[in-house]
Symmetry: C2
Subunit: 148 residues, 2 copies
DNA sequence: TATCAATTAATAATTATTATTATTTGGGAT
DNA sequence: ATCCCAAATAATAATAATTATTAATTGATA
């Protein structure tokens, strides 16, 4: 994770977006974040270095990036929106007792689902995205989750 | 869908909840609803017959019902909360161009996922729920979706 | 039927997000 | 390099969704 300035400007340019300091900073902050942050968390993370960037601009910038498919919006069981710089197809694990959202990616799972959905024929529906939402809680909130 | 008064009072009692007119009305309204309504939509649907029930009470009642696992809260890509009286395990299809949320249930899919998750061993995670979120749009917004 | 904790109505407050508007700016044209 | 202007931003107000407060009411137990 984390793209350098050149890479970020290149990505913005590839979408025809103007290269602005605000967009670079917000995008880099999200790329660097590990935790599917809220708009406010991104705002907090950048404001010491960029005190003139307003929260509304952070929202607007995230919206612009999402519209251009550079990032994803992630809705949560709490209803507040969080953001994700990962745009490859992956799933999320919602941890209720720590409020974390973890990425979960497994090629096997993706294949299984894709196969399943291909087999089914949804009439009058064009599927744009699908993912598995796993909800759970950490047994020990201070430790990570591993798959064995 | 739709439980009679006796059934609803029985369900509330089984959870140790006081039987109140408000709870009966809100619960029945949700049971009768087809569209994963918002709190406000439920409020609107009951207020002509029950003008004294306030929106805050609708929210509180829904929260109580959800805490007692009689209903589910459904978060949406828009961030607003919607409610679902179906509590059996099922999946949702989010239709972006009509803002509908459709239930999608398929035994085969449930089996596939359950098998998959059982095979995987998530360390330090207790899974409480999992579902597939399908996003898409209707080709013809005025027609339904069928599976062939 | 009296009691009292739980519930509700009415409303205020809060939180998350979006809109408004005046000002500024990136980047193409000159 | 400078001019120009649509697009972007800062500052702030407004809105939408939800939650909190508090006084009054009520369900259900004794």
């Amino acid at each position: 994770m984390g793209l350098d300035l050149e890479a970020v400007t290149g990505v913005l340019a590839s979408k025809g977006l103007k290269i602005t300091h605000q967009r670079i900073v917000v995008y880099q902050a999200l790329l660097a974040a590990k935790n599917h942050p809220t708009a406010e968390q991104i705002y907090d993370s950048i404001k010491s270095q960029n005190p003139s960037i307003s929260l509304a601009t952070v929202y607007k910038t995230l919206e612009t990036l999402a519209e251009n498919l550079l990032i994803h919006k992630v809705s949560t069981p709490q209803g507040t929106m969080r953001y994700d710089a990962r745009i490859d197809n992956h799933n999320h694990i919602y941890i209720s007792n720590t409020n974390e959202i973890l990425d979960y990616e497994d090629e096997e799972l993706s294949k299984i689902l894709l196969n399943y959905l291909k087999k089914k024929n949804f009439d009058n529906l064009s599927i744009t995205d699908f993912k598995v939402q796993i909800k759970g809680e950490k047994i020990n909130p201070d430790k990570g989750i591993s798959i064995t």
